[in-house]
């Protein structure tokens, strides 16, 4: 057995004007493997694309991931079930409410309280998720546009997204990574004036989406860059486990909100958007159309909230419901004085419950559950295993970007280098979800 030696690749130092000499004498028949990323403005985050190129044609493409891995799943095993929300929300940072919703729906199924979550909380969850879908698609289109050179699409998209982030800040307190959806309901009720603020922001959001449509839909350069790029037909999609806009661009109307509804989605009126060209252009059109559908759902949520009137946003079971009430005081947001008066002054049981729920957390009966939601990128699902304790025994997230990135090789090999950018942009991976 010969001893193993570490072989470094040959290093060429090109000092200007001598590339032809180097190529002629040294490379010859050798393959050129080029790293695109992980630090690159166009690879959608810290994605390392290892491309073997022959001139401008990509002969082999592979993805290197893991640069954003922060051990979220393992960390969740050492926190209570409620604290887990604050971790999972940071996975796919453009769709935090979807991770929260998937996780909390999973915990509620493990607890068996799915039917006891108040209706107001469910409607607000749908409202927040659809607003998040709009924000996420705006980022996808904005960054995708920027990556192919349509810089105005980026500015328009992010300006429209600002409206959505302002709404999130009004409702949840944070622009991103809200940790607002909790097992059992929501962290807080909607602040007064929310419905009017959302209605007030709608024209601006509509204008932004309409502007993107006008800039991109029939643009000959966009069409030249995106039509027939990143082609993946239905067989390929199912084999590679694709879901979301990529699967719907093949014409299959698979949307978990319709097929396996959660959070009352079966009661909302919206259409599943498909396109039939299996290419990047189809995914662009699907994302824009899905934003219009999301606006319809947001309208329906607002009508329901107006009709519903005030109500609880946390389940009534005090052994599970998050005890702390927050209110804005003189120095910012903190525990409401009424709640403190109650737990410190009047009710010993309330104090005990508050203490035990915040420090220890509630216990979840043993078992496992798989809860999937339709995130903007595809099927986002969580596999939760409980050992009967106050902490998740295992929380594994099936992130759509992680699965969808497997298609990079299929989509890009044989194409041009510039088409790699367009194909990856149409997959719309978010590296936080890929790496977790």
């Amino acid at each position: 057995m010969s001893e193993a030696t570490v072989e470094e690749g040959r290093v060429f130092t090109a000092s200007g004007g001598d590339w032809a000499d180097i190529a002629e004498e040294s490379l010859g028949e050798e393959r050129i493997v080029v790293n695109m990323g992980p630090q690159h403005p166009s690879t959608h985050g810290v994605l390392r694309l290892i491309l073997e190129i022959d001139g401008e044609t990509v002969t082999e493409a592979r993805c290197g991931i893991g640069y954003l891995h922060t051990g979220i799943e393992k960390n969740m095993e050492y926190r209570t079930w409620t604290q887990g929300v604050t971790f999972c929300t940071r996975m796919d940072y453009l769709t935090p409410l979807y991770q929260e919703a998937a996780y909390c729906l999973g915990v509620e199924r493990l607890l068996g309280i799915t039917d006891e979550v108040p209706e107001r909380a469910t409607v607000v969850r749908v409202l927040l998720m659809e607003l998040n879908r709009i924000a996420s698609h705006l980022v996808a289109l904005a960054t995708g546009g920027m990556e192919i050179g349509a810089l105005t699409v980026m500015t328009v998209g992010f300006r429209a997204r600002e409206q959505v982030l302002k709404l999130f800040e009004l409702i949840t307190g944070l622009r991103m990574n809200h940790a607002f959806i909790r097992p059992g309901g929501l962290a807080q009720d909607l602040p007064p004036g929310t419905i009017d603020s959302i209605r007030g922001a709608m024209p601006e959001i509509r204008r932004g989406i309409a502007d993107i449509e006008k800039l991109a839909n029939e643009n000959p350069i966009v069409k030249a860059r995106l039509v027939d790029i990143g082609y993946l037909d239905l067989t390929g999609c199912i084999a590679l486990g694709m879901t979301g806009p990529i699967l719907r661009s093949t014409g299959l109307p698979h949307d978990l909100r319709k097929t396996q509804p959660y959070c009352g989605y079966e009661t909302y009126d919206f259409e599943v958007q498909t396109w039939d060209t299996c290419d990047a252009y189809g995914r662009l059109r699907i994302r824009i159309n899905e934003m219009w559908e999301s606006l319809k759902i947001v309208e329906q949520c607002l009508q329901r909230l107006s009709a519903m009137g005030p109500g609880p946003v946390m389940i009534a079971d005090r052994k599970i419901a998050w005890p702390a009430q927050l209110a804005i005081g003189g120095d910012g947001m903190g525990n409401s004085l009424d709640h403190i008066k109650e737990i410190m002054g009047t009710s010993m049981e309330a104090l005990i419950h508050h203490f035990k729920l915040v420090t220890e957390g509630f216990r979840v009966p043993p078992g496992q559950v798989y809860q999937a939601v339709e995130s903007p990128r595809g099927e986002l699902a969580v596999h939760l295993v409980s050992d009967g304790g106050t902490r998740p025994y295992r929380a594994h997230f099936r992130d759509p970007s992680f699965v969808n990135l497997q298609a990079v090789a299929v989509m890009c090999e044989g194409g041009l280098l510039a088409d790699v950018i367009a194909a990856v942009a149409s997959i719309d991976p978010v590296m936080g979800g890929v790496d977790r």
């Binding site: 393992k74 960390n75 607890l111 052994k319 043993p366 078992g367 699902a381 304790g389």
Partner: protein, 275 residues
């Protein structure tokens, strides 16, 4: 809700094995003498999965005391409470909704291929409206192919492969959990395969579901399960030369203690636990 006499989750833990058709939550006997399916054919009408393999509910552990702390003196009396915690027990026929028909179809397909059904499928768990098939690892690829190709089953999409590490289950420490989705029939099923720490090999299903590629790489990376037949089983999230498998329960969480003046807050896995 507020007039329940006991906490809801205790009630659930007690009732869950009953709902699944298993034994109630008392200390169950160890699974020593399993009754063979031949002895159960009278009850087992369909040529599918065995009615019961005789396995009792999986015991996770014993919880003593009502409250979290262990050291301070607890004079309430609740400190003497002893409860066994069990995972949902294997189910007996009928499983309910579409599970029976699917189990029958799967059983027929496997028998047609010459595989004994009770060899391929260890047990079936029906819990929280989900069907879980515990598959023996040697037959995993055959079961997956049957689930994918049979027209009545047609689980075309593999959602993901997830690893779970149970260090206390000697001989069955590493679990690989496969979630399948049937778009045609709009259903989900879960397959659970176990492997011991001493021989952490599970056949790869990439030949049946190509999407399992990265999922199996991730499960290898985090748990050390070696998927035989995988085209390129390398680390995917951790750096390529990382030693160890981070999401195993015997791997520390890591982290640098936070230092304050006169105090140190240790990383979360070594902090005081309230439960």
């Amino acid at each position: 809700m507020s007039d329940k006499s006991e906490p809801k989750e205790l009630k659930e833990a007690r009732e869950a094995p009953l709902k699944a058709g298993g034994t109630p939550d008392v200390a169950p006997p160890l699974p020593e003498a399993k009754e063979t399916p031949e002895g159960k054919t009278a009850a087992d009408v369909a040529p599918g999965l065995p009615a019961t393999t005789g396995l009792e509910a999986e015991v996770i552990g014993t919880r003593t005391g009502m409250f979290g702390q262990r050291d301070t003196g607890d004079t309430s009396g609740y400190g003497g409470l002893v409860r066994t915690v069990t995972m949902p027990a294997p189910a007996t026929r009928p499983y309910g909704s579409w599970f029976d028909a699917a189990a029958d179809t799967l059983g027929e397909t496997l028998s047609g291929q010459g595989t004994r059904v009770d060899e391929a499928i260890e047990s079936v768990v029906v819990d929280r409206d989900e069907l879980t098939l515990n598959v023996r690892r040697e037959h995993l690829v055959a079961v997956c192919a049957a689930l994918r190709d049979e027209p009545d089953l047609r689980f075309e999409l593999l959602s993901g492969v997830s690893g779970v590490h149970f260090p206390q289950e000697i001989g069955r420490e590493l679990h690989a959990v496969y979630h399948l989705l049937s778009i045609t029939h709009n259903r989900r099923v879960r397959l659970e395969v176990t492997a011991p720490d001493s021989d952490p090999h599970i056949p790869s299903v990439v030949s049946v579901y190509p999407t399992a590629d990265w999922h199996e790489r991730e499960t290898w990376d985090f748990f050390g399960i070696i998927f035989d037949g995988h085209p390129a089983l390398t680390r995917i999230q951790m750096p390529d030369d990382w030693p160890g498998h981070p999401q195993r329960k015997d791997y520390p969480l890591g982290g640098i203690p936070v230092e304050y003046k006169g105090a140190v807050i240790p990383p979360p896995d070594v902090r005081r636990s309230y439960s």
